[in-house]
C-alpha cells in the first residue's frame, strides 16, 4: 500500500493502481467520461485532469498511477478551469443547450425555451435525461453558464451524422448523441471479446460504427448490451422501454434463463420491468449478462400474460376468483387421485422453495414431482453418478476465466450459456488458455479455440470419450483427437477444466455428452474428476430442483398412465413427443403458469402466477452457487407469485406448507445442510454452496448411438435469442431477431437443393415434420440441418423419440413455377 495525499487528505491505496479509480473510490469527484474501471485507460475525454505535485502542468488521473508520497489536487481553480474548458469542447459537439443553462432545473417538457433553443438541442427531449453521465458530469464540473462556443456555426452539425439505427428489437444507436469516448468499443472488445464495434474515420468524421459501418443487426453484435452499460450519453440505449426506463425501484435478482445464474438488477416502474442492468452479485457473471438476461423481462407484453385465474366450464375457460380456482383445482386433483396416479410436472426455472413445495404436494398426491425435461436431467445425472459417484460436480466456475486449458462439450455454449462462453473467451484472451471445443455446429467460441473437434450432431459425447481415451494413453481416434490430447497433456493440470452443457432435447444425447465429459475429467484428474468438471443444465434451476427432490425418479415418459396432472410453470408439449395425445387422455389437468400455453388450454383449472422475476427464493446454479431471487415485478392482474399459488393449493389439498419462501428455505436447509448457509445469508445476494468432492472416478465406455435413416443429420440446441415463455405461446415474436425461427441449412446443401435464405423448407422423418424458412449459413456442416430446441414451441423434440440419432429429409416447399426438390 502506498500513501498519497489528495486535497490535503491522506489516503492509503495500492501502489500502481489507476489514480482515477482510487480517487473515485475515496469519494473525490473526477470527471471521467471515457474510463472503464478495470480496463486500460483510453485517455480520450481528457477531462479527468488533476494536479500532481512534481511534473509541470496537469495530469490525467486515468493514465496516472498511485505512487507513494504522491500529492494530488483535484479542486484547484486551475484544475477546475481546465476541466471546464475540456468539457466545453465535448458539449460543442453534443445537443447540449440544457447542459449549460441556468434555468435547466426549472424547465419542464413542453415549456417554451426562454433562450429560443430548438427542441432537439435540449436535454428535456432526450430519453437519457436525468440518468445521463454527461449531464451529471456537467453539473459536477460546473458547466452552468460556461459557453464559449455558443453561437458558432457548428461544423459538426453541418456534416450530418448517420441516422439513428433503430432497426433491431433490442438496441438503438444514435450517433448524434455520441461523444466518441469509445467505451462501447472497448466494452465489446475487451469485456465481451465480440469486437462488433469499431472507431471509424478520422478527424471530424471519426465515429463509432458497428461491423463494417452498417446496421447493428448486420454486424456480429450479440446484443448483450455491455456497450449500453458504459455509454455516458443517449447514443446507445435499450430499444424496449427506452422512454420510460427511469425505474422507481431497482431489485437485485437472478436471471431465470440458464444455469449460469447471472445476477441482474431489474428496474421496475409501477410493478412492471422497464430495464435491466448486470447485478454484480454473482462473481462468475460479474458485470456481464446476455441478451436473454437483458431483454427477456420484456419477452411478452403484459397483456399476453395471464392476469386472471380460470376454471373450465364445458368448452370454455371461465374467469374465477383465486379461492374458487384453488378449491376447484384441489377438488379436481383429489378426484383424479381417487381414480389413479396423479403426476406433478414443474418448470426448470422454479425456485428451490417453489420446487420443494411442489414436491410436497406431489407426495401428498401420492407421487413424485418431475420436470418435463426429467428424462434428460436423469440421463445426465445417471451418467455422472456412474463415473463420479455423484451428480454434484464440485468445480468452482470462477476458475474458468483463470484457466489455462478448457474443454467445452456443448451444442453451442455461446448460445446456450452465453456468459459462461464469455468467461471461456476471457481465459483464451487474457490467459492465452488453450480451448478445445467439441460440438457439431460452428460456435463463435470456435474462433477462440486452439482445437475444434467437430463431431456429428449427437456424437459430442462419443467424441469427448474418444478424447478421454487418447488422454489416458489409448490410440487416438483421429488426428484432431491426437492434437487435442497433446494440448491437454501439456497443459497444467490445476489450470484445466472440463465444461459440459448437455443437449436439452434428447436424453440419449445428453447422457452421452455428460458421460463423455465425465470420462474426460476422469482421464485427466482421476479421482479428483468431480472437482474439475462443470456441468451446465439448460434450465436455470435444475440442480436446485434435484436437490429438493424434483425429478429424482421417473420414467422415460412422465405423462404415461396418469389420471391427473398438476403442471407448474411448464409445458410438456414443448418437450415430450406425443404429449398432446397423452394430455388428451389425462382426465384432470391443473396448471399454474403465467402464459396460456398448449397444456394450459387443456386444463380444468388455470391459476395465474407471476413469472420467476416475481418470485422470492433461491436458485442453485450450474456452478452450485445459491443465488437469490427477489420479486422485481408484480404478477399481472389477479395473478399471484408462484410460491403463494402453491401454498394456496397445498392448503386446499391439506398439505401444510411454510407460510413463505424464506421459511421454505429453512425447511430445505433442515433436510439438506448444504443449504444452511444460504438460509443464514437470506439477506445477502448469493453464496457458494459447499459441494463435497466425490473422490471417485471411473471411466465407463460411452456407447455410439445408432443413426436412424440415411437423411441429413439433425442438430438441435438452445439458441441465444428465443424467449422460452414466448415460445410456449408459439408467439411469432418469440425470437425477435428472426435468426433462430428458421431451419439452418449448410451452403452446400442449399446449393444442391437450390434454396436460399428465406425460402420455405420442410424437414421430415417418420411422420414428424417442421416447416419454416431456411437460413443458409456456415454454422452447420454439410449434411446437417440445425433447428433450435425452442423453434415452434419445441417442435424438434418429435424427432428425438428413442435413443437413435434422427435423420431427416429436407424439402424445398413448392413454389409456383418451380418443382419441389428434396434432399435425403
Amino acid at each position: 500500500m502506498a500513501s498519497i495525499t489528495v486535497d490535503g487528505q491522506v489516503i492509503e491505496a495500492p501502489a500502481g493502481a489507476p489514480l482515477v479509480e482510487v480517487l473515485k473510490n475515496n469519494g473525490f469527484y473526477v470527471s471521467s467520461l471515457c474510463y472503464i474501471d478495470g480496463l486500460k485507460p483510453y485517455a480520450g475525454c481528457r477531462s479527468c485532469l488533476v494536479d500532481i505535485e512534481g511534473p509541470p502542468g496537469l495530469q490525467l488521473s486515468c493514465t496516472s498511477v498511485v505512487q507513494d508520497g504522491m500529492k494530488v489536487t483535484t479542486s484547484s481553480d486551475e484544475v477546475k478551469d481546465a476541466r471546464k474548458a475540456v468539457v466545453s469542447l465535448i458539449l460543442a459537439n453534443h445537443s447540449d443547450r440544457c447542459l449549460t443553462c441556468h434555468r435547466r432545473e426549472h424547465c419542464h417538457p413542453g415549456d417554451i425555451c426562454l433562450r429560443d433553443d430548438v427542441v432537439t438541442h435540449r436535454c428535456l427531449t432526450c430519453s437519457k435525461n436525468y440518468r445521463c453521465e454527461l449531464q451529471a458530469t456537467c453539473e459536477m464540473v460546473g458547466m452552468s453558464g460556461y459557453e464559449p462556443w455558443v453561437g458558432e456555426e457548428r461544423s459538426w452539425y453541418q456534416h450530418p451524422q448517420p441516422p439513428a439505427d433503430r432497426a433491431n428489437p433490442y438496441m438503438e444507436f444514435d450517433p448524434q448523441m455520441c461523444i466518441i469516448c469509445t467505451r462501447c468499443q472497448r466494452a465489446c472488445e475487451d469485456k465481451r471479446h465480440t469486437g462488433a464495434i469499431t472507431l471509424s474515420g478520422k478527424g471530424w468524421d471519426t465515429r463509432i460504427a458497428f461491423g463494417a459501418g452498417g446496421a447493428i443487426h448486420e454486424s456480429n453484435c450479440d446484443f448483450s448490451g455491455a456497450c449500453i452499460d458504459v455509454c455516458p450519453t443517449a447514443a446507445l440505449m435499450e430499444h424496449p422501454n427506452k422512454w420510460v426506463a427511469k425505474p422507481d425501484t431497482w431489485t437485485m435478482t437472478t436471471c431465470d434463463s440458464c444455469a449460469v445464474g447471472c445476477s441482474l438488477k431489474l428496474g421496475s416502474k409501477e410493478g412492471r420491468g422497464v430495464i435491466v442492468r448486470p447485478g454484480n452479485a454473482n462473481p462468475f457473471s460479474g458485470d456481464q449478462i446476455c441478451v436473454r438476461g437483458r431483454y427477456h423481462y420484456d419477452s411478452l407484453k403484459p397483456r399476453e400474460r395471464l392476469s386472471r385465474h380460470f376454471v373450465r366450464r364445458g368448452a370454455i375457460h371461465a374467469p374465477a376468483s383465486l379461492a374458487d380456482a384453488l378449491a376447484e383445482a384441489a377438488q379436481a386433483l383429489k378426484d383424479a387421485k381417487s381414480k389413479g396416479r396423479v403426476g406433478v410436472l414443474v418448470g426448470g426455472n422454479l425456485t428451490n422453495e417453489e420446487g420443494w413445495a411442489a414436491a410436497k404436494i406431489a407426495a401428498a398426491l401420492g407421487g413424485n414431482a418431475d420436470l418435463s425435461s426429467g428424462p434428460v436431467v436423469r440421463a445426465v445425472k445417471g451418467a455422472l453418478e456412474a463415473r463420479l459417484g455423484t451428480w454434484r460436480t464440485a468445480a468452482d466456475m470462477t476458475r474458468i476465466p483463470a484457466a489455462k486449458a478448457l474443454v467445452v462439450i456443448a451444442d453451442d455454449l455461446e448460445e446456450s450459456h452465453n456468459v459462461a462462453s464469455v468467461r471461456v473467451k476471457d481465459a483464451a484472451v487474457h490467459q492465452k488458455a488453450k480451448v478445445i471445443v467439441i460440438g457439431a455446429v460452428r460456435s463463435e467460441l470456435v474462433d477462440f479455440a486452439a482445437c475444434w473437434l467437430r463431431s456429428e450432431p449427437g456424437e459430442e459425447g462419443l467424441t469427448a470419450a474418444r478424447l478421454a481415451d487418447a488422454v489416458a494413453g489409448g490410440q487416438p481416434h483421429d488426428h484432431a483427437t491426437a492434437e487435442a490430447a497433446g494440448i491437454l497433456r501439456d497443459a497444467p493440470r490445476d489450470g484445466t477444466l472440463v465444461v459440459c452443457a448437455p443437449n436439452p432435447v434428447s436424453a440419449a444425447i445428453a447422457g452421452s455428452m455428460a458421460g463423455g465429459a465425465a470420462n474426460l475429467a476422469v482421464a485427466l484428474f482421476g479421482n479428483a474428476a468431480s472437482e474439475n468438471l462443470v456441468v451446465l443444465p439448460t434450465e436455470a434451476n435444475v440442480n436446485g430442483l434435484l436437490d429438493v427432490g424434483v425429478a429424482a425418479s421417473g420414467g422415460d415418459d412422465p405423462l404415461a398412465g396418469l389420471a391427473g396432472l398438476l403442471v407448474v410453470r411448464d409445458d410438456p408439449t414443448m418437450r415430450l413427443p406425443g404429449a398432446a395425445e397423452a394430455l388428451a387422455k389425462i382426465g384432470t389437468i391443473v396448471v399454474i403458469d403465467n402464459v396460456l400455453h398448449e397444456t394450459a388450454k387443456r386444463a380444468a383449472v388455470v391459476i395465474a402466477e407471476g413469472r420467476a422475476y416475481a418470485s422470492r427464493g433461491t436458485y442453485t446454479t450450474g456452478g452450485f452457487r445459491i443465488q437469490k431471487l427477489s420479486p422485481a415485478v408484480a404478477p399481472e392482474g389477479d395473478a399471484i407469485d408462484c410460491y403463494r399459488a402453491l401454498h394456496g393449493l397445498g392448503a386446499a389439498l391439506g398439505v401444510d406448507l411454510p407460510a413463505n419462501a424464506d421459511a421454505a428455505l429453512g425447511e430445505i436447509a433442515k433436510a439438506n445442510p448444504a443449504y444452511q448457509p444460504a438460509h443464514d445469508l437470506i439477506l445477502g445476494e448469493g453464496v457458494a454452496m459447499a459441494v463435497a468432492a466425490s473422490g471417485k472416478g471411473t471411466i465407463v465406455p460411452v456407447a455410439a448411438l445408432t443413426v436412424s435413416g440415411r437423411g441429413l443429420r439433425l442438430a438441435t440446441g438452445r439458441d441465444l435469442y428465443t424467449a422460452a415463455d414466448a415460445a410456449a405461446l408459439r408467439h411469432p415474436e418469440a425470437e425477435k431477431l428472426h435468426r433462430y425461427d428458421r431451419i439452418q441449412v449448410s451452403e452446400a446443401d442449399a446449393a444442391r437443393l437450390g434454396i436460399h435464405s428465406g425460402d420455405e423448407v420442410e424437414i421430415a422423418a417418420g411422420g414428424a415434420a417442421i416447416r419454416a424458412k431456411a437460413d443458409v449459413n456456415e454454422r452447420v456442416a454439410t449434411g446437417t440441418v440445425f433447428v433450435s430446441s425452442l423453434l415452434q414451441g419445441g417442435a424438434v423434440a418429435q424427432f428425438f423419440t428413442g435413443d437413435a440419432l434422427p435423420t431427416v429429409t429436407l424439402t424445398a416447399a413448392a413454389v409456383p413455377g418451380r418443382r419441389a426438390t428434396q434432399l435425403a
Binding site: 485507460p41 483510453y42 485517455a43 480520450g44 475525454c45 481528457r46 477531462s47 485532469l49 502542468g57 496537469l58 490525467l60 493514465t63 481546465a82 474548458a85 475540456v86 469542447l89 465535448i90 460543442a92 459537439n93 464559449p148 462556443w149 458558432e152 456555426e153 457548428r154 461544423s155 459538426w156 461523444i179 466518441i180 469509445t182 469499431t198 472507431l199 474515420g201 478520422k202 478527424g203 471530424w204 468524421d205 471519426t206
Partner: protein, 632 residues
Amino acid sequence: MTNAKLQAIIDSAKRDWAAYQSDGRQHVRICIDTSSLARGGQATLDALRAAVAARGLNVDVGTGGSWGFSWMEPTLTVRSAAGTRTVLYANLTAERVDEFVDRVLAAGGDMPELALGVVEGTSTPEVPLLSDHPFMKGQVRRLMANIGVIDPENIDHYIALGGYEGFGKALEMDAEAIVKEVVDSGLGGRAGGGFPAGRKWDFLRSATAEPRYLVCNADEGDPGAWVNRVLMEGDPQLIVEGMLIAALAARAREGYIYIRYEYPLAFARMQTAVDQAYAKGLLGTNILGSGLDFDLVVFRGAGSYVCGEETGLINSIDGYRGMPRIKPPFPAQAGLWNKPTNVNNVESYANAPLILRNGAEWWSTVSTAKEKGTKMFTFSGSVNWQGCVEIVYGPTVREALEQYAGGMKDGKRCKGFQPGGPLSGVVNGDELDLTLTLDPYRERGLFLGGGGIVFFDESACIVDLCTYFLGFCEAESCGRCTTCHGGTQRAVEILRRISLGGGREADLENFQELVKTLVWSNCFHGQFAMTTIKTALKAFAGEWTEHIVEKRCRAGVCPGLIEYRVRSQTDAALAEARAICPTAAFVEEGGQWRVDDALCVRCGACREVAPNAIEVRDRLAAPIAAGAAAGA
C-alpha cells in the same frame, strides 16, 4: 575490411560499374521521381526511348533520382561516349525530345537553352559548370551524392560508389563502438527533434526484452516537405545500409520501413532495394556469414498524417487503427508488437553509412553549428525555385531563400514562412535572419521540422493560412482526444467565421483558451495543433485586428471581407472574365457590367484572366478616416 564476402560483392560491383562507364556508349539518365512524373517525366522517357530506337542510336537510357531541381523536372544527364563530359538538362518535355535527340545525342552537341550546367568535364560559354549554378553553389551533397548519378533500382551502382563500405566497417566493430562513433558524430534526429540517434540506438540495445525492432519513419506528411521522398526515390540503398548499421548497434533483428500511402514510387523503389539486398545476402539470416540476422519489411501506410507520430506508426504496423498511443510506455520499452523499438527518420538512418564509411570527424566537422552534418531541405510556397537541397546547418533563412529558393516569386516581399509543417507555427518575414538551426525556433515556441520550409508572400492572408492548417489538423486528428478533434473544430469554425466577416473581439480570447486547452492532448498532433494560430497571433497581430475589428483583409482573400468589382468596362479581357465566371455573377445593367456580390464565390478566376478589368475591394470595412490614417 575483412569480410571477404562483402569485399567480393564490392569488387564485382566496381568491376561492373567500370565496365558500364567505359562501354563506349552515351549514357542518358533521366530523373523519374514523383515531381518528374507530375511534370510529364514518363512521357519524356517514353519519347526518348522511342526516338533513340527510331534513330538506331546506341545510347543507354536509364532512370535516376532527382538532382533537387524539382521545379524544372524532368531533368536528365547526358554523359558522352568517351565518358569525359556530363551535362545536366532540365525541362525536357516530350515535345522537345526529338529535337533534343537530334541535337544532343545524334549530333553530339549541346542544347544550351535546356542545359543547367556541366556536371563533369569542360564548360562552354553557353553551358557553365553545374557547380557554379546558384542553386548548387554552397550545397554540400553527401546524402545526395549518388542521387541522379546512379540507378536507384540497381544495388550494384550503389555498391560501386562506396555503398556498404560503412556497413563493412561496422561489421568489424562491436555495438558499443558503433554507438560511440555515431554519438561522437553528433547525428541528431532529422525529423526536427534533434535527439542524438546513437543514444537512441543505445537505449534499444540496453532494453531487456527480445526481440528488438528498428522502424524507419518515412511517413513524410507535412505539406511542403519531400526530402525523404528524394532520398527514397533517389538512393534507397542508403537507408537499407543505415538501418543495417543501426541494427548492429542496437542488436535488432527486424526492421520496418513505414512509407506513407501517397508515395507509391518511393514504396516500389524501397521494396526493390530491399529485395536486391536480400538477393545479395545483405539482409536475412547470417548476413555475409557474420552471424547477424536482420530482416527488413517495407510497409505502406494507409494515408494518415498522425501515423507520422511514432506510436501511431507503430499502431499502424501492428494492425491497429492508426492512433498515437498513450505514453508511457515509450517505444523503447514497448513499441512494435509490444517489444522494444527504435523509430528514426529516413534521413537519420541515411547518415549512418556516411559516418561509418568516412568517420565521425569527417562527418561532423563540416558544420560549425551545434547541429552537426548536413541537412536536406525543401523550399516551396511563393518562391521561384521549389527544390530540394542539401546544405550544412547554419545559413540564415534569408540566405537560403535568396540562394536556394531563388527569392520570392515576382520579387514580392516575404511575408513569412512556416519552418516545418502544420504543427510548427509561422514566422514573420521580419525574422528572415533566423538561422536554419533548431534552437531559434524552440525559443520562440516553434520548431524546425523535417526540412520542409514554406514561404508565403503578401498575397497570403494569415487568417486564410491558419484556416488551411487548422483544417488540416482537424481532418487528420485521430479522434481520440476531445481536446484535439473538438478543439481544432472550434478553431476552424472561428477562423471561417472571421473570414466571412463575423469576427468578434472575444475570438482572440477564445483562441487563447484553445491554445491553453489543446496542450492537454495526448500526442504532438493535438498539443501543437494550435501552434500556427498561437504564433500567428503574435507575429501578425495587426492583421488579426484588421480582420476582426476593421473587417478588412489586406491580402484580399477572405471571402466575406472582399468584393470583386469591374474597374474597367472597356478592358478587352472583360469578356474573358465574364466567360470564365463559374456562377455567372457578371450582370449587365444599362450597358455596364457589374459583379453581383450575392452570386460571386470569390474564386478569383476573373481577376486572373483580366487583372486590369477586375479589382478587389473591401466589402465591409468603413473607409478609414483620412485623419486617422494620417495619424497612424
